[in-house]
């Protein structure tokens, strides 16, 4: 009974996600049809090929989705505690920056140790950056939305602007020095997978993707199987109720924001250690904001976030294919926005349907 109920609503959510995506694509298609010389069919074929056309595209899609899954998790986790973390962007930058610096400043460490240090520091930095608004919310009740936004803008100046300018090598490009080999996250091309499937060269998908999946696993365990999760969700639904239940509301709000920030920090870290191999101004590319979309589409549920992350990775990667085919890639951004709208709106119909179902029972 209980089981089947959950199943039902999960399925409904899934169904709605598909409907939302479909409608969004349809509208995007109409836009293409009427505003560009390309036809929506060829545009979407290009989109598909760009994302899944061949092994390389698939791997690139996974590569693109890695940070999105992580920022998505970050936003989703905060959501569960009733907090809206628009700050994933800044937390990602801070985390990536710290990891990048740790990546080149330590040397002569064994790889395992070095990588671990970088990841821990990166997550810690992101966690602190998320923890600050958490603390302000918990102790002073300051709206976390505003503060996370402000901290995004601050993080940008500190890392991308000031940080890089201070640390960049003589005449080098807009990035901190390259990290030591020992700090690099292995790319799939440098693993046994390469011999198994002889992967195409230059594909960048790296072990960070695995970390993303593990993170999702851990988060769902934390949320639904532990007392920490019980408390965080309770605070999210009804703080005064939770307080009555002996739950330390402030502590949990801070904790939720800290963990959320750490996840975003991890996103930045894997981008630096795995993708770029240094901290670059290029990291400031809205991954945090897309993370919000991912979390919403994934219904703030770790499993859903993984799927949504991969979908958005595919859209971004496939978007390039579309651009090559002469269709402005921004269509993809528009589609992403539409997907969110429809998901959000469809929730109402979901409620409506469930009400109806219940009424049938009552009659």
């Amino acid at each position: 009974m209980k089981m089947s109920n959950n199943m039902k609503s999960t399925l409904t959510t899934l169904a709605f996600a598909l409907i939302a995506i479909f409608v969004a694509l349809l509208i995007g298609g109409i836009l293409i049809q009427f505003t560009t010389e390309a036809s929506m069919i060829e545009a979407y074929i290009a989109l598909y090929n760009g994302a899944f056309g061949d092994l390389r595209s698939v791997l690139n899609t996974l590569w693109r989705s890695t940070p999105l899954i992580l920022t998505g998790l970050a936003v989703a986790f905060a959501f569960k505690c009733g907090l809206f973390n628009i700050g994933a962007e800044g937390q990602l930058l801070i985390g990536g920056f710290v990891a990048g610096v740790a990546g080149y400043s330590f040397t002569g460490l064994p790889a395992i140790l070095h990588v671990t240090i970088c990841i821990v520091l990166g997550m810690l930095a992101g966690g602190i950056w998320g923890g600050i608004p958490g603390l302000l919310k918990a102790k002073l009740g300051v709206n976390e939305v505003i503060n996370t936004i402000m901290l995004n803008l601050i993080a940008l100046q500190i890392t991308v602007r000031y940080g890089i300018n201070q640390l960049r090598l003589e005449g080098a490009a807009d990035n901190t020095p390259r990290i030591a080999e020992t700090a690099e996250l292995t790319r799939f091309t440098d693993t046994f997978l390469n011999d198994l499937f002889n992967l195409p060269g230059g594909v960048r998908v790296h072990t960070g993707f695995v970390f993303a999946l593990l993170a999702a696993l851990f988060i769902s365990y934390l949320l639904f199987k532990t007392k920490t999760g019980y408390e965080i969700r309770a605070v999210g639904i009804n703080p005064s109720g939770a307080e009555y239940g002996g739950i330390n509301v402030s502590k949990n709000i801070f904790l939720a924001m800290f963990i959320s920030g750490a996840l975003a920090g991890l996103a930045g870290t894997v981008e630096v250690l795995g993708t770029h191999r240094y901290f670059t101004s290029g990291l400031d590319a809205g991954l945090g904001f897309t993370g919000i979309a991912v979390a919403l589409l994934g219904n703030s549920n770790p499993g859903g976030v993984i799927l949504a992350g991969i979908l958005f990775g595919a859209l971004t990667q496939g978007g390039m294919g579309m651009q090559f085919a002469g269709v402005p890639r921004e269509i993809v951004t528009i589609i992403q926005a539409l997907v969110i709208f429809f998901m959000a709106s469809l929730q109402m119909f979901k409620i409506f349907i469930e009400k109806k179902r219940a009424k049938e029972v009552a009659k």
Binding site: K227, I237, G241, E243, Y244, G246, E354, A358, A362, K363
Partner: protein, 523 residues
């Protein structure tokens, strides 16, 4: 009496609701309900929690639309698709949870939606204020037109609600549990207002769980049970017991039965506790008392005299400004809620929706809240779902919670049953001190009987119990001793037997008692 019945003698039917059916997710709130109200009568609507009273009235007021049924007003069929259509017909409603906008002034709240205009488009506050004054004079509804709602007492807020509907020219007035939050004096005043309204030819429908009130003021009674009408009767023709029987379907004890208490050593001791709120206002001005094993100390008092704060301090939800709280000879002043729970203090909060429950958690999850971090519910690295569900499945029958199962969300239960969930949870932890705040608010007599029995059992098991209630009758029938609290101070602590409702009522409004037995002064 007869003078009051003059209008209802003229058997003119003003309202007729026929075959009303309203379905909510999972419940048929109203199932083919019929209601007939005569012009100028006071018509009581009674029934258990979830019987469908509020729903029926909300339909009459146009807030909900019924699936089936017809409504006739003044003889002609009407369709009520929104409050406006009801208002225009002359139907007004005072809701169970007041519909007042707190930061706005009394006048603003009253004129809201039908504001007088001056100049091209400015609100004409003067004009509105004048109208308000007229009405309050005519019906003796004392209010301060310029006060903001959040700063006036509940009683006045209710009068504002009444003026609000009279301002819109209502002839039929609906009251949903108007007395739930009032003192006996305020209730008296309210009934005076009822009579005044009746004199003016207004018709009144009012919902209550208190049968004495029904007998006192109503002309006729309609009883609902589980969404169905069980009949309408003339008030003279029935006794309280009869009504109770109609409501519950069985006979219920309206009086609590308990032996004399046998107090032992002190469990809780409070020494001049004070509390300032964040605006620096003195809420508690030096409260001192103690509670012994095996006794029930009741707190009588008008809401907003500090009892809520007192309870929250004694359960760790608020921090006192000064004073000392000792539990079993251990200083527990300003400990955390979790610590109080560990010291086996059970707490039934006054507001089940705000405090007592996570409405969107299911019953099983709610029934471990506060104990979720202890074995067997919590293991080192995970929560033990089996233990949690088993716990709920054991308590639900034991405490007679009416629910499809332990997996449904607390939200979908009726108030009475939500209350039972909380009681089940707190009792299941065998507290040494039980602090029950408004334990039966908005709960029907069946459930009240049940809850009261449980509380007495606690006492007889040698536990200390503290009961806070705006419900004088409840305080008197449960308590062994009664502390009367007024304006943040304890006016006096008296033996339950030694005072009657009106002496208490008087003390609750601050006037020091003129009592002979001075022996329990020294407590």
């Amino acid at each position: 009496m007869s003078s009051e019945n003059q209008y209802s003698n003229s058997d003119e039917i003003i309202l007729k609701m026929e075959g009303i059916t309203k379905v909510f997710p999972g419940v048929k709130a109203n199932d083919n309900v019929n209601l007939e109200v005569k012009k100028g009568e006071i018509h009581a609507l009674v029934g258990e929690n979830g019987a469908g009273k509020s729903t029926l009235m909300n339909i009459l007021y146009g807030l909900y639309q019924p699936e089936e049924g017809e409504i006739f007003y003044d003889g002609n069929k009407v369709s009520l698709d929104g409050p406006m259509s009801s208002i225009n017909l002359g139907i007004g409603m005072v809701h169970q949870h007041f519909m007042l906008v707190e930061p706005l002034t009394v006048t603003e709240n009253i004129m809201l939606g039908s504001e007088p205009i001056t100049g091209a488009f400015f609100t004409d506050d003067k004009n509105a204020a004048r109208k308000v004054k007229d009405i309050s004079d005519r019906y003796g509804l004392k209010v301060d037109p310029n006060a903001t709602i959040e700063n006036i007492p509940v009683g006045m807020q209710q009068r504002v609600e009444i003026i609000k509907i009279l301002y819109r020219g209502a002839d039929l007035l609906i009251f949903d549990e108007p007395t739930a939050v009032l003192t006996p004096q305020e209730i008296e005043e309210l009934f005076e207002i009822f009579k005044a309204l009746k004199e003016q030819g207004k018709t009144i429908i009012f919902i209550t769980h208190k049968l004495k009130e029904v007998k006192a003021i109503s002309d006729r009674i309609t009883v609902l049970r589980q969404g169905k009408t069980t009949g309408t009767v003339e008030t003279e023709s029935v006794s309280e017991e009869d009504i109770a029987k109609l409501m519950v379907g069985r006979s219920v004890l309206l009086q609590v039965e308990k032996e004399k208490s046998k107090p032992k050593n002190v469990v809780l001791n409070v020494e001049n506790l004070t509390y300032k709120d964040d605006r620096g206002v003195d809420i508690l001005k030096g409260i001192s008392f103690d509670i012994k094993e095996g006794e029930i100390l009741g707190f009588a008092g008008v809401e907003g005299n500090g009892q809520s704060e007192l309870v929250e301090i004694l359960t760790g939800l608020k921090k006192s400004t000064s004073g000392k709280v000792t539990l079993k000879n251990e200083d527990v002043t300003n400990a955390s809620p979790m610590q109080f729970k560990e010291w086996k203090v059970g707490h039934i909060p006054e507001d089940r929706h705000k405090r007592g429950l996570i409405l969107d958690y299911n019953l099983a999850e709610n029934m471990v809240m506060g104990y979720h971090n202890k074995p067997p519910f919590s293991k080192p690295f995970y929560m033990n779902a089996n233990a949690i569900n088993a716990h709920a499945d054991k308590l639900i029958p034991e405490f007679d919670v009416r629910t499809p199962g332990s997996h449904v969300k607390a939200r979908s239960l009726s108030g009475g049953n939500q209350q039972k969930v909380i009681i089940a949870r707190e009792f299941s932890q065998k507290p040494d001190l039980l602090i029950a705040s408004q334990p039966t608010r908005g709960v029907d007599i069946g459930a009240i009987e049940f809850i009261h029995r449980r509380i007495i059992e606690q006492r007889d098991a040698g536990k200390a119990v503290m009961v806070v209630s705006a419900e004088l009758h409840e305080v008197m029938s449960l308590s062994d001793r009664i502390a009367v609290i007024y304006d943040g101070q304890i006016i006096d602590i008296v033996d339950a037997g030694s005072v009657n409702e009106f002496q208490l009522g008087a003390m609750m409004t601050g006037s020091t008692p003129q009592k002979e037995d001075s022996d329990n002064e020294n407590e």
